[in-house]
Symmetry: none
C-alpha cells in the first residue's frame, strides 16, 4: 500500500547520471549532484539503488550498445570491423572511463559484482552474434571455440586498454583476428 513510486523519478535520476558521467566521468559524479540535477531527494535515489556504483551500472545498462553488428560478408571481415570499432569507440574516451571504477567497486560488493557480470555478458552479445553468423556460413564449426574467442578478443582489448597500455591498433586487431580464427573451424 501507500503512495506508489514515481516512475518519472527513475528516468530523471538515470538521465542526470548519464549526463554527469558524460562530462566528468565517475569522479565528477556525486550523489548530491545527481539528486540536485534530477530534482530529487537523495533518499529517492537510495530507495532504488544500493549505492552510487549500482546506479552508475544501471545507467550504463540503459544506454544502447555502442558497437553495431557489422556485415562484411565474411567472419574475418566482421571480426576485424568489430575490433576496430571497439578500439575507435572506447579508445577515445579520455578520462571518462567508468568501467574501471565499477570493476573496482564490484570487488567489495557482491550484488554489484553480479550486476557487473550480467552487464559484461550482455555487452558480449554483439560479438556472439557475429560468431553465430560465421557459424551459419560454415566458417566456424565447434561451439566451445566460440566461447573462447569472445574471451580472447575482449580480454586482449581490455588488457591492452587498461593494464599494459599498448595500443590496440587496427594492425593488431587484424593479427589478433587471424590468430583466433586460424585454428578454428576447418
Amino acid at each position: 500500500m501507500g503512495r506508489p513510486r514515481d516512475a518519472g523519478a527513475d528516468r530523471a535520476i538515470l538521465d542526470a547520471t548519464i549526463e554527469l558521467l558524460a562530462d566528468g566521468g565517475v569522479g565528477g559524479l556525486s550523489m548530491d549532484l545527481v539528486a540536485k540535477r534530477a530534482g530529487v531527494g537523495k533518499s529517492t535515489i537510495y530507495r532504488r539503488w544500493d549505492s552510487k556504483e549500482a546506479l552508475v551500472l544501471d545507467a550504463l545498462s540503459v544506454a544502447p550498445a555502442r558497437v553495431p553488428v557489422p556485415d562484411t560478408g565474411t567472419l574475418r571481415g566482421d571480426l576485424v570491423a568489430y575490433a576496430t570499432a571497439l578500439a575507435r569507440i572506447y579508445g577515445a574516451a579520455p578520462r571518462s572511463d567508468v568501467l574501471p571504477h565499477l570493476i573496482d567497486a564490484a570487488c567489495y560488493d557482491d550484488r554489484l559484482q553480479a550486476s557487473l557480470h550480467r552487464y559484461t555478458r550482455t555487452r558480449q552479445q554483439t560479438l556472439r552474434t557475429i560468431l553465430q553468423l560465421g557459424h551459419q556460413r560454415g566458417e566456424l564449426t565447434d561451439d566451445d571455440d566460440r566461447e573462447l574467442i569472445v574471451d580472447v578478443l575482449l580480454g586482449s582489448f581490455f588488457y591492452r586498454r587498461l593494464m599494459s597500455g599498448e595500443r590496440f591498433t587496427p594492425r593488431f586487431a587484424e593479427r589478433l583476428v587471424d590468430f583466433v580464427i586460424k585454428n578454428t573451424g576447418r
Copy 2:
C-alpha cells in the same frame, strides 16, 4: 643540495603500505595510517609520491613476482602450470584486490597510468620467459605470436576475473593454452 632524503623512510613507508594492503586492501589503507605505521610525517610521503595510488603501485612493484617460472619440460605444460598458478594466486584474494583500484585511478592520472603500464609489462616477464624457453626448444618459431600469446592469456584471465565473472578453471586454462599453441610452432 640540502639534507638528503632518508632512504630508510622509503623502506618504512613501502613496508607499511604492503602490510596495510595485506590486511584490508586499498580500502583499509589511508595515508594517515601509512604515515603513523611508518613513523613518518604525511608530508614525507607526499614528497615522494603524488598520490595514494602511486604509492600503492610502487609498493606492488617492490614485491617480488608471485607466480614462479614453472619447469615441466614442455611449453604446453609450462603454460598450463602458469595459468593454473595465476588462477590460484590471484583467484583467492577476495576483497583485497588492489589492481582494480589502481586501474581506475590510472584513468585520471597520466603519471600513474605510465607506472601501471610499466608494472604490468614487468609482470609479463614470467610468461615471456616461459615462451622464450619454448622457443629455444623449437616449440615456437615466430616472434609476433609470442607477443600475442601474452596478451591473449593474461587478457582472458583478467577479463574473466574482473569483468565477466566466469571462473578461470583449470579446465578452461587447458582449453585456452591448447587454443593459443595449436596454430603456432610447427
Copy 3:
C-alpha cells in the same frame, strides 16, 4: 525546508568548546577535538560557524558575565570594586587567554570582527550599569562622560594587561577611578 538543525548539537558543540577552552585555551582546541567530544561530525560544526574563532567567540558569548555588579553604595566604591574584580578574574588566567587570539583573528575576518565588537559591547554592560546607578544617585550628570569612562577604564585595563605589561594593581585601580570621576558629577 529539509531536516531542521538539531538544537542539541548546538549545545553539545558549545559545551565541548567551553570545556576544551577551560583546559588548554585556544591552543588546546582543535575542530577535530570539539567534534569528537561533542559527538558530532566536523561538517556539523562548519555548517553553523565559519571558523574555529567564530565558534569560540560564540562559546564565550554564551557564558555568563564573570564580573558581577558590585553594590557598595557609592560610585567610587563600585568602580573600584569592579576594577579590582576585573584584575582578579582576568589577571589570573595565565595561558588560557582566549580574547587575544580572537582579536587577532578578527583582523582578517569581517564577520568575526563584527561578532567581537558585539561581544565586547555586551561585556561593557556591567560597567554601564554601575555608572547608571551612580547617575541615579546624582554622582554623575553628563551622559557623554559615561561613554568615555567605559573606554578609559576598560581600555587602560587591557592595555596594561596585554600590551605594556604593567600590573593593574588595586592601587592603580584606585588612582584610575579617582582620575575618571574627579572631574565628573558635581
Copy 4:
C-alpha cells in the same frame, strides 16, 4: 672559533620580514618565505630568533616611530594632534595588523611577552615627550597623572580599535583629551 656569523644576514632577514609584513601581514608571512626572500637558510633565522613572533617583533622595533612629536604650542593641541595622527596612521591598516598577533603569541611565551612590553613602552615615548613638554610649560604638575594619561590615551585607542570597534574619531580624540587634562594640573 669557527666561522663568524654573517652580519649581513641579520639585515637581509629583517628586511625580508618587513617586506612580507607590508604585503600580507602576519598571515602572509611564513619562515620559509622569509628564508627564501632573504636568501638565507631557516636555521640561520632560528639561530638568531626564538620564533616567528620574536622575529616579527624585532622587525617592528627596528622601524622608526611612525607618529611624530607634534608642536602646536599647547598641551591640548599637541595631544589632539598626536591622537589624531595615531588614528590616521594605525586606523588605515586594513588586514596587516601585526600587533594583535604578537599580543596573542606573547600570552604563551614569556620571552616574547617581555619583548612586547619593552616594545610597547618604547612606543609610548612620543606621548611621554609631549607630556614632558607640557610639564615644562607648567600645564601639568603632578608626575603620577602623566603615567596615567599615557595608559588612558593609548588604552582607549587600542580598546576601540581592536575590541569594541567604535571609531576613534577626531571628535572623540578631542573629547578624550579634554577629559584627561581637565582634572590634571591646576
